[in-house]
Symmetry: C2
Subunit: 228 residues, 2 copies
DNA sequence: GCATCGGAAATTGTATACAAAGTTGTGCCC
DNA sequence: GGGCACAACTTTGTATACAATTTCCGATGC
């Protein structure tokens, strides 16, 4: 397929590779992930593919349907709300902690992240920009030195990317880099309270940019959808 | 071994069974979980066992050491702190939500849970009591109608059980049933603010009952420990 | 006695074979 | 032509065979 054969793949690297592809919208929600297909693409047996798909299903990025196969997840409106509820509980306080423990290295990483995101947007690589935008949030948890919370946020960020793929409303380019800039300012001033507040607003903006009315819901079953 | 052969086991049921055993301290931290051993015990092949162990490792209840095997996880002091940090972010607000949405069915379930926990304590079944005590917290998230957060809390609760196994200090019986009673009262009064506050205190009490000084830390490697 | 170096045994890692379930296509019947 | 049944094909589920690695144990040398 591509350069997938040049690397030694393991269940971890394959699932990370797939997660990034999902995050960047190269694998849109609902995509069938056939085991043979993936095995040939990566040059590995189905054993490893299955372990990778299992890992992704535990992160709710892939849905395993018994005897039917693996599909990129399609979060429901309800799940979308829940994901942002969880982020609202975890991220603002974590931003506060990050501000308190901020180091110059941390600031440099965040700066570099924003720079790359701008570059990606300028190059029209929207998927890559979205991925980098997510990494910004994960980097904050890392700076806050909270590995456990970082794991949860990392999963929620990837799920958010699926939600954005399904429910994104604004066609205007992601104006959120402004929010990240503002956060960076707060971090530079080691201002925990402001960082927490900015993160809270940022998440509210994000969910406000989605169309979570039940109308756009993908049909539970094709049969049901057509019988309406 | 026991009645394990009477049931049709799948990766999901096996990992749930193991998780409960870990939660109840029947499988203490550090226990080796051999694949053949488990396969024979449950009457299934290593394929299913591996899928179950993989699931548990994703929940941080089992540590997979490459070419060495699977072991019941031994959370570090640092990890212990992180788990309770995460719980402190998630559970108090979730308790508030639960209070707001509380139903009579929900109250009955919580009541029954406390009753069974008392019964288990009276019967000297400490492991079972600990498990039920965890279920109380998970039930709250369920009543709050937050499936995603419930999943995170469920993982954190199981990890807390490992932490208790390693760092529990008070020999006195778990006095925390008092805390659960107080929470139940707040729920009965649909008093979100009090429920949130009680949950916060409850978690602080819990972490205060642990000995998280670095001294008791199990050595990273036996060799290193002996060379000191 | 102690450390070190094989080599056998045991255990995990990966691929593959076969079974089971689902999907698709064809032809028959009405 | 539409509906249905059955068969061929495709895909996933599980077990097992074999390879790779570690562990255990005893022999060897100092």
């Amino acid at each position: 397929m591509n350069s997938l054969n040049t690397k030694v793949w393991s269940a971890e690297t394959v699932s990370a590779d797939l997660e990034r592809a999902i995050h960047e919208h190269r694998l849109p929600p609902g995509t069938k992930l056939g085991e043979d297909e993936l095995g040939e693409a990566y040059g590995i047996s189905r054993t490893i593919v299955r372990a990778a798909l299992l890992a992704l299903s535990h992160r709710h990025l892939v849905e395993l349907k018994r005897n039917r196969g693996a599909f990129v997840a399609q979060p429901s409106v309800r799940e979308a709300r829940e994901v942002f509820e969880a982020r609202a509980l975890l991220e603002p306080r974590t931003a506060w902690s990050a501000a308190e423990r901020m180091t110059d290295d941390g600031l440099a990483l965040l700066h570099e992240n924003i720079r790359q995101e701008h570059a990606a947007l300028d190059a029209g690589e929207n998927g890559r920009a979205l991925y980098l935008s997510g990494q910004f949030h994960i980097e904050i948890a890392r700076i806050a030195d909270q590995t456990t919370i970082e794991g949860f946020i990392s999963e929620l960020i990837s799920r958010s990317s699926l939600i954005i793929a399904l429910y994104w409303r604004r066609r205007a380019a992601m104006c959120e880099t402004q929010a990240h800039h503002a956060l960076l300012d707060a971090f530079e001033g080691r201002d925990g309270a402001t960082a927490e507040q900015l993160m809270k607003s940022h998440l509210l903006d994000l969910i406000a940019s989605l169309d979570l009315r039940n109308v756009t819901q993908p049909p539970a079953s094709l049969r049901e959808a057509l019988n309406r």
